[in-house]
Amino acid sequence: MPLKQTPLNAAHRAMGAKMVDFGGWDMPVNYGSQIDEHHQVRNDSGMFDVSHMRVVDMKGVGVRDFLRYLLANNVDKLTISGKALYSCMLLENGGVIDDLIVYFMKEDWFRIVVNAGTADKDIAWMKQQAAQHAPELDITDHPELAMVAVQGPNARAKVWAALPGSQELTEKLVPFSAVEMGVMFIARTGYTGEDGFEIMIPAKAAPFFWASLAEKGVKPIGLGARDTLRLEAGMNLYGQDMDETVNPLESGLAWTVDLKSERDFIGKAALLANPPDHKLVGLVLQDRGVLRGHQQVQTTHGAGEITSGSFAPTLEKSIALARVPKEVQIGDTVQVSIRDKMLAAQVVKYPFARNGKGLI
């Protein structure tokens, strides 16, 4: 099967990107040095093509009630138009179908952004649930929308310079909220631990927008640096840190699950019935080496496993997220099996880095 391409495919190639098969998409992994790209975002500004992610609009009377039931986080927290909420969408058994961002636009319109690799399954699930609980809703995905994330301390100023009229509209936009600008949708969100925007734009207009940003000095950033940036920022990656076989409470996502309100939601009963015996923690490697996903972790309370690990360019250390027995505490030393050795790692509170600075 040929790889799927975003509207920016030719632009990536022209900028010297090294392209890889990323879940069926032909995507840039870097444009030279992944570490340079990482620092570029922490220190200045960079742009990411995230057009492979999918926008899904839910429209109609009763959409809020439906989302109250569909999502583990509570959309009742969204009262101001444009405000966003991060949430998991769960199976009945509490397993994570996907993590997503939902934007409240109007009482009869919520916009959801889901992961690329899970988009088709997500939409099928949404429609299946809607058929039972809210058959009048219109659920439409928008593969024709491209998405560009511009991230870094100088990201917003450079977007304003590249996009006439955007400053007036978005200067007062609070973090984790969005506003429409004509055919564009500008959200002050991201996946790097830095300030910036994620911007949805019709596919046809995307190459011009990308070129305008480049002209203002925004550097293209590949998926390689996207992964180290999000890991330092302590943000989960679906498919690695959680999936359908684990629930959000054992994936560091309890803060996104509203178990306090009376509201019922899919997966709630399973979460209440099965208190987690594992949790997600941060690790910093004390010995020389590199932590990677699937490495086994030994603790005094039993075994665990790294879910995501890498060299962290901001910290110049190797860091990881690991699922370990719930008795493990911050400050504990654990052993990680790397090839034929057991290396020491310290359990830490994450995020590891935010807003240009290491926190460890």
């Binding site: 992944q34 570490i35 590199v290 060299f311 360019p313 190797s318």
Partner: protein, 129 residues
């Protein structure tokens, strides 16, 4: 960057340089460093360790992935480039200067039998298909 003509090569992307004293110096090729990207960790073999040809003896790790480095021929490790402990990125900057370890081969003829630059380039080209 082309592959220097004065070196020998392996299909597993090591380069091998014969020194005046009969030892060989080993590193990874331009193609290998390009595939791996930014290097962040190199774990060389212990000095004195006896290696068999094609034995895994070193790990190089980039941000992206870990890769094994193999002994090009049988012999004993005589030196390890400790400079790479604190500066693994030297492999990216100049893979043919940033050597990883040195060996004394059991048989000089084994080194002579390795690929030359042209034969190695054909291997690289065939991987790119």
């Amino acid at each position: 960057m082309s592959n220097p003509a004065n070196l020998k090569y392996t299909a597993s992307h090591e380069w091998v340089k014969t020194e005046a004293d009969g030892t060989v110096t080993i590193g990874i090729t331009q193609h290998a460093q390009e595939l791996l990207g930014d290097m962040v960790f190199v774990e060389g073999p212990a000095v004195g360790r006896k290696l068999k040809a094609k034995e895994e003896c070193t790990v190089v790790e980039s941000v992206k992935a870990a890769a094994d480095v193999y002994a090009p021929v049988s012999g004993a490790v005589t030196a390890v480039n400790s400079e790479l402990d604190s500066a693994p990125e030297k492999i990216n900057e100049d893979p043919y200067a940033a050597w990883i370890f040195k060996m004394k081969p059991d048989n000089a003829a084994d080194v002579a039998a390795l690929m030359d630059a042209k034969a190695y380039q054909a291997v690289v080209d065939s991987e790119a298909h």
